[in-house]
Symmetry: C2
């Protein structure tokens, strides 16, 4: 969102001069870049990585989207790979936080908790500006093994939250497939919605969550 604001600001500059002003528009002196540019870079990278893929996105694309010169991203990030990793980690961090909030708000009923998990997951995937997790899901193989291991713990934490809920549903006979395979298949069904869900038309995230719960749970 920050990034799109700044992009809009750049586009709004009247093109009266022959040479367009380089870099982003000047800000007032007391509006220092205390890490804001870093966030804008991250957001721009996430959006581009999602749309074009990691390898097909150039650091120049990212720089331009953030209103910088081509070499400038490397002032904030050691490498293109570090940018990818930061996007993924940021994504997992906020996904975990969103999931925890959802569970905290839900009651004790297993089906209700299940719906909360599903709904929170759809928010993570399709909420406005939430490009981070889709990037993580689809650019997993672009990560060096080292960093992949480092993310695995966060992912395990995220998935672990589903297990007790699924176990309870299994015990109640509302989920018949084995718990572990169920979790993999269910998360897959949700994750895949990144490929076809379009916020602008058709169903809402609520409709989606309803359908998913209806599909997976008995009774």
């Amino acid at each position: 969102m920050k990034a799109s604001e700044s992009a809009a600001a750049v586009a709004a500059i009247p093109d009266t001069v022959t040479k367009r002003p380089r870099g982003r528009p000047r800000k007032t002196v007391d509006e220092r870049d205390d890490g804001n540019r870093r966030k804008e870079l991250l957001q721009a990278a996430a959006r581009l990585f999602r749309r074009k893929g990691f390898a097909a996105t150039t650091t120049r694309d990212i720089a331009a989207a953030a209103g910088m010169q081509s070499g400038s991203p490397f002032y904030h990030f050691k490498s293109k790979n570090a940018l990818l990793y930061a996007v993924m980690e940021e994504g997992m961090q906020s996904a975990i936080a969103r999931q925890a909030d959802a569970l905290a708000m839900a009651g004790a009923d297993a089906a209700e908790r299940m719906r909360s998990l599903v709904r929170a997951h759809f928010d993570t995937l399709h909420g406005p500006g939430n490009d981070f997790i889709p990037v993580m899901l689809y650019e997993h193989r672009s990560l060096p093994a080292r960093q992949r291991t480092s993310l695995a713990q966060l992912q395990a934490d995220y998935e672990a939250a589903w297990t007790p809920v699924l176990q309870a549903l299994h015990a109640d006979g509302r989920l018949r497939a084995p718990v572990k395979l169920s979790r993999l298949l269910i998360l897959g069904a949700l994750n895949w919605s990144v490929q076809w869900f379009d916020r602008k038309k058709g169903a809402s995230l609520e409709d989606l969550a309803d359908a998913a719960v209806l599909l997976f749970l008995k009774e």
Copy 2:
């Protein structure tokens, strides 16, 4: 499969000479390259596109995997993109054929037909040498719009086969979610298995299909 045989043949050449022989091993004169090299290129491309992604795979990688020099793939394919498109089309063609066979063998019972569709889909995703469809699923965005449209018809045909089966199950009360959303979620759950299913360890494709049917259908 052809390609893996030839890869094995290449690997079996004794390494007695200092310089390895370039290209693939000579064949008898009457075994002309009537399109075989093309198939080997396709298989090599599919495997590499799947493992590393389209943009991260170089045409040199593909040439080397097929035992050719760096410029030679362009004798068989106009461009790297044409190679990608050929992989996807080939994948859809054989997926549709496999699906039709499975339905032809199944009886009239909707649940039985459902299981056949699921099983055939897992074969398409995880059968030995079946890298084509995973590439299609994960490199969709790497295709120019023109070619994407061209593939859309094949994909529509493939998905259309699910609809009557799901409708019958819905009418019987064995599927509660709306048919269209069900199809999207179910295919997503299956497709996602590309990310975690490992043929070498754990569950078989039969186990997987059982779990999926158990998860989606009531009673």
